[in-house]
Amino acid sequence: MLNEIAIISGKGGTGKTSIVASIIPFLDDLVMADCDVDAPDLNILFPGEIRESRDYIGFKRPVIDYDLCTHCGVCYQNCKFNSITEDIIIKKSTCEGCKVCEYVCPTNAITMHDYVIGKVFKRDTYYGPMIDARLIPGEESSGKLVAEVRRLAREEAREQGKGTILIDGSPGIACNVISAITGVSKAVIVTEPSVSGLHDLKRVVKLVKTFSVEATVVINKFDLELNLAQQIKDYCDLEDLEVILEIPFDREMVLSIADLKIPSINNIPFFETQKWHNFISYLDQKESS
């Protein structure tokens, strides 16, 4: 059975992508899925041949045939998303593709057309195949694009006989994160010792429990604020969540990424500790049927 691991964070900037990058060289048999479609960064650290790229059609949007349009305004009156102006012009930034306008138009002047909302890529990197995607800035349906990245990653794993998929999720708790975590074998929540970190951790834990996903917590930069790190540990205790790893703050890790070097294979002492290796072993555990 596929071992799908999602790394998420709730709050941005906790070091999620740096940790994903650090994990990659330590897992065999891997397909990488960059599900942070607003800000796909993994391919910067793991460049590779683009094997395939294709436009992704998110949903359909209305197109008005002004030869048939009588400006009756029924579409404008019925649109719940303020996506049609009184002058009967489509405002695509708020359109959700519900098709109500097409349905109500008395002269059939509105038809729904496929709409490209992003691009999907299959790459071959040094550590294995990667599926990533870019959402066109401003677009809707990021959740759907994330689901597509996951689907392609699973397809790739099956075709190439790979056993593990590592998912880099996005910050937040809405549709794109939900799509990144449903049905995964394990979720790892990366947090930091700050009031924001704790606040956001609580919300993402709630999300993970809503979707019944097994989760553990990593406290990154834990020694920047030991009191808050303890508060996080106390919270996790209360919620029956394991804090599986605490990573100390090290400027070298940030500078490593800035230099486009993977922190865990760049002579940073933390990644040689037993703690790190235990974490990898946990990630590598495949569920028995």
Partner: protein, 279 residues
């Protein structure tokens, strides 16, 4: 003037910038539109004097009138209605409230009920200052409605700061819509630059005026400055990373309360964006 503060990458200092700029202004309103993970209230420590539930509609089927034709389920674009020959099932958390199911129902069996998808909090934070933030209920798929509401109740404000969600998708677009100026909080790292490019693309498509503040300016490289120069983008300021700053932020305090260096940078930004009189 409406000023939105946004970033491509999360964690580059949007909220830090928003709350510290807000504190440096004599008179202003701040709205935290990162309704998935709002953080500004942790720094401003105001008291909530008013709360509002933000509601969405979802369909309720009258089984006595329903003919089980299945048209509502066929129409629904969001998989919120599933119909069998025996029953109609509604998943209200998936509903986008488009109103389509009611329109297509031939027997008028559908009416709408309301449920809360989150809240808006109004907080008092001092004289001449107003602060509102939104919070999405965990499990709901989109906070756009809450963001729209926040924007709506503050549209007449003189100086409005909008702490926006990270990323460049629909929530962010909703937050920045109608802004007069955008401040991008960026990091001088390869990830930071890559994500900032996407924000720049978005802002240019939306025809926005914008400038950049580089955060943790000493942790990275110069590529971002080269990019800003090449693209003719205004650099509004640089804020260094210092461990003491990280600690101050960690415990939920304002940098301007502890550092003259930061106070000066905020004043500079205010002068550049709003003008001398506001500093």
């Amino acid at each position: 003037m409406k000023i939105a503060i946004l970033s491509g990458k999360g964690g580059t200092g949007k909220t830090t910038l928003s709350v510290n700029l807000f504190s440096s202004l004599k008179k202003a309103t701040l709205i935290d539109t990162d309704v998935e993970e709002p953080n500004s209230h942790l720094f401003l420590k105001g008291t909530t004097y008013h709360e509002e539930d933000i509601m969405k509609e979802y369909p309720v089927v009258d089984d006595n009138v329903c003919s089980l034709c299945g048209k509502c389920g066929d129409f629904c674009n969001f998989n919120a209605i599933i119909t069998s020959k025996k029953k109609v099932l509604v998943f209200d958390d998936l509903c986008h409230s488009c109103g389509g199911c009611k329109l297509v129902c031939p027997t008028n069996a559908i009416s709408y009920a309301e449920k809360s998808i989150g809240k808006i909090f109004y907080q008092s934070v001092g004289d001449n200052k107003q602060f509102l933030y939104g919070k999405l209920l965990v499990g709901e798929i989109s906070g756009v409605k809450i963001i729209e509401h926040l924007k709506n109740v503050t549209k007449k404000e003189d100086i409005l700061l909008i702490d926006s969600p990270p990323g460049t998708s629909c929530s962010t677009v909703s937050a920045i819509e109608g802004a007069d100026y955008c401040i991008i909080a960026a990091e001088p790292t390869p990830f930071g630059l890559s994500d900032m490019r996407m924000v720049v693309e978005l802002l240019r498509a939306q025809k926005m005026n914008f400038g950049v503040v580089v955060n943790k300016s000493n942790l990275g490289n110069d590529d971002i400055y080269t990019y800003l120069e090449e693209e003719g983008i205004d650099l509004l300021g640089n804020i260094e990373f210092r461990e003491e700053f990280a600690r101050i932020i960690s415990v939920g305090e304002l940098l301007v309360d502890h550092s003259e260096y930061v106070r000066n940078i905020m004043t500079d930004i205010i002068k550049k964006v709003l003008g001398e009189t506001y500093a």
